[in-house]
Structure formats: C-alpha cells, structure tokens
C-alpha cells in the first residue's frame, strides 16, 4: 500500500514537471497561442468549450463503438466459417490481409461517396479497419486446438456444433480478446479518420475529427489540443474497458492472468 502510494505521488510529480516545463517554454519564448498554447490555455479551452467537446466525444464514441461491435460480430462469424471449412479459409483468408493493407485514408472518400455523410459512413470506416485483427486472431484461436482434445471429442461422438461451441470457441477466447484489444485502439483512429472526410452533415456539429479540423481552421489551437487530449483519453478508455472484460472472462482459468497477481 505504502509503495503504491509513493508510486502514485512520483507519477503525479512527473506529470506536473512536464506541464511546468511546457508552460515555461511557452512563457519564456513568448510563443503565440495559435502556434503552441500553454497548458493553462488548453485547460481553459477544455472548461469553456466542455459542452461542445462532450457532444463531439459522444459522436466519436458512438462511431468507434458501433464499428468495433460490428467488426466483432462479423469477424467472429467469418472466423467460425473459416475454422469449419478449410477450403473457404484457403479461398478467402488472403483477402483479410488485403483488408489490413488497404490504406483507409485512400478509400474513405469512396465510402463517403457511396454512403453519404454523417455517423453511418464513419462507422463503416471504423468497421473496416477493425475487422482484420478480429478475423485473424479469432481464426487462429479456433484452429489451433490440441489434437488430442479433438480426438477426445471424437471419442464422445460430439457433433460439429458441439466441437465448435464447447471446444473451439472457448479455446479461441484469449485470441479473440487479443484481436479486440488491437481493434479497440484503432477504432478511435478509424472514427477520427472517417470524420476528417465526412464528420458532419451540418456546419459546427460533428465528432472529434471534424471538430479538430474545424478548430484548426479557426486557429483555436487551445481547443484543438483539448480535443486531441479527449481523443487519446477515449482510446485509453476503450483499451482498459476491453482489458477489464478480458479479465472478467479469463481470470478463472487462463494462464495469461495469474491467480496471485493481485499480491
């Protein structure tokens, strides 16, 4: 306990030192606010513009969470098909790599062309970049089952459905969570990238990406920094939420989470 308290104080000290250094650089060099705002200016922007920042944050959260959720559903379904039918896997699996290598910035305008502007096309962009890690990791987990366990199920005359749901899916759970963790991080990036192209149907309203673009054009650099901070915090939040869910699902049995780790 004492040790943890000390650690917290130290981390806090580091942050305060960095903030002080930042403020010092800005103040001593008399840097104009539009070039580099000091932490105080950013803090003021954060407080003053909090309602509109919150609106943008909610929109981006919806897009990122929506895209991520859709990618989990579609990705797990695709992985299940790949695991059951080797020939489909051999035929289609290479395209999931294509999905990963396609430059999302290049096709985002196309998607906006097809689906219009607003939350929906941005969710599609998020979905696309989240999909590949989910498919790849889940397929790997479904396929890499101990051969003797498959034999055991054979001896029990288990149906293919039983093998899938009682053996392969639980076996794939740790890999699935690895995939979700990766995708959760990039889902926020996907949302913001999408918004840069099609964030808003109305001027002045949109997610973080759109707001960043808008703040930049208005030279509201303090608010811009606050928005970037909010985007990072959102990514952080997603990541730790997934970590928590992973812990909930696996802590009883999986080796990656030790029973005595809390000590």
């Amino acid at each position: 306990m004492k040790k943890q308290g000390l650690l917290a104080i130290r981390s806090l000290a580091v942050i305060l030192c960095l903030l002080a250094l930042w403020q010092a650089v800005v103040s001593l060099n008399h840097l104009p606010v539009y070039l580099l705002p000091g932490p105080l200016v950013v803090a003021r922007a954060l407080v003053e513009r909090f309602p509109s920042l919150l609106d943008s944050l909610v929109i981006t959260t919806e897009e990122a969470a929506g895209g991520l959720a859709a990618s989990i559903v579609v990705g797990v379904a695709a992985a299940m098909v790949f695991a059951q039918y080797r020939w489909i896997r051999q035929l289609l699996y290479p395209y999931t790599i294509l999905l990963q290598t396609v430059p999302i910035v290049a096709i985002a305008p196309l998607i906006i062309n097809w689906a219009g502007a607003g939350i929906f096309p941005v969710t599609i962009v998020t979905f696309i970049i989240c999909l590949a890690p989910i498919i790849a990791n889940t397929t790997h987990g479904l396929v890499s089952v101990d051969e003797n366990l498959v034999h055991l199920f054979l001896m029990y005359k288990a149906s293919p459905v039983q093998v899938l749901f009682k053996l392969r899916l639980p076996n794939a759970l740790p890999s699935l969570f690895t995939g979700i963790r990766i995708s959760a991080g990039i889902s926020v990036i996907g949302g913001i990238t999408g918004e840069l192209f099609a964030g808003s149907t109305q001027v002045g309203e949109g997610g973080l990406g759109y707001a960043i673009l808008y703040a930049n054009s208005q030279m509201e650099t303090g608010y811009l920094f606050a928005l970037v901070l909010a985007a990072s915090a959102l990514g952080f939040f997603f990541f730790f939420l997934v970590m928590f869910l992973e812990w909930l699902a696996l802590h009883n049995w999986h080796e990656s989470i030790r029973p005595d780790a809390a000590e």
Partner: protein, 259 residues
Amino acid sequence: MVTETMGKIPEVALESVSKRYRSGSPVLENISLKVQRGEFVTFLGPSGCGKSTILKLVAGLSPVSEGTVRVNGMTPENARQLVSFVFQDATLLPWRTVEQNVGLGMELEHAARPARRQRVERMLELVGLEEVARRYPRELSGGMKMRASIARALVSKPSILLMDEPFAALDEMTRDRLNEELLRLYAEQRWTVLFVTHSVAEAVFLSSRIFILAAHPGRVAHEIHVDLPWPRNAETRDSAAFEQQVNHASRLLRGIYQA
C-alpha cells in the same frame, strides 16, 4: 452357451494390420495380436515403433492401411461406446472446473443433470479428487490432473481403457502411487487395458502381458507373460521375482535398441 461363445471373442484383435502415412515408410507392419477380456496389456518399445498408433487404430481415430481391427467383434468406430482413451497429457479443458471436465462426456450426450452430478461425484471420490471438484485445472498438480483425466475416462463405464503414456510426465513417486491406484481400480472394475509406456518397471508392475515392439517398421518383437502374483502393491516392487522380470524385459528391449 451364448456367454461361452461370447467369451471366446477377443476384446481387441488386430489381424495383419499395417499402417503407413501417405509419404514415408510404414509405421506398423503386419501386426497381429489378440487381447482377451479383462487383460492388462502393455506396449513397450523405442520411439517410432508405433505403440501410440496401435491405440489410435483401436480407438478408430485413425484408419488402418491394411488388415482389420476388431473391438468386441465390431469395427473400432462402432465400438467407441465401450472405449475410453487416456492421453499422455491430461488434456483437460482449462476453462472448465474439474467436475465440469469429468462430466464432459455425459454433457455432450445430453445426460440429465442430476444423474450427471451423481456419477461425476462418484468418479471424483474414486480417484480422490472430491476436495478439488470446483477448482480449475491450472490450480492442480500434474498428478491430480492425471487423476481427473482418469476419472473422466471412467465416467462412461468403459469396458476397454486405452492409455497412452498417461504417467510419463510425472515424477517417479507420483507415478508409482498412481500405478498402484490404477491397479486397485482395475481389480474392482476389470476393464481390458491397453497401456503404452517407456518404462520397463511400469510395464512389469501393471500388466499381465507385455508386447515389446521394434521400430522401422513397427512390429511385435517379443511377447512376455508377466507371472507376478495379484494383487500387486508397493511390496511387489521389492520382490526378487519383480526384479527378475524387469531385468528380463530390459534385456529384450536392449536387444532391440542395439539392433
């Protein structure tokens, strides 16, 4: 009359069985052997002699290339109900507790929950694991995991047990104790056992008959009848007769390694 003729059908019979994989030399060549009901038979031999493959053929997990395998007069696939397999690793599902692992087979057969619980409880008692029924496999020692694996194999009331080096990964003391427990259960339940091992002492201690296999291609080189008195227990290992049998089997095995 009927029972008499039934008694004459060997529980497991291999006739001129060969097994080869698509490419490469045969794993097993021209193996013929019979195992009578209630016998405890051990397969001993160097790696690559196909001893584990024999068990897979009997379990119907792998088809023969030539010859026939009969289990209680049936094809291995049709006889699966009679057979339980104990693998080298405990092969427990890590996301299930011990009791959920032991009850897996009954669950897959959609057995009623009360019947399942009762049977699982009895099996755990039999192998001395009732205390850890709600624990997960990673919390158990190697010996306890193997006990759980054996309990799982016994749930389906098999008449034939196929055991593929089940105690190979355990330390010697644990292995000896589990050997003794296995024989105690064997005396009660009288399964037919086909047991694969690397250990000469284990083979002599457990079985009534030992097949010593040679490799490349896998074939039966020697057959030993172990005439040690039953029941066998810890004292059996100290007897001169035991030592003699072990030496005899070791000599034969050494001949194969040198060949």
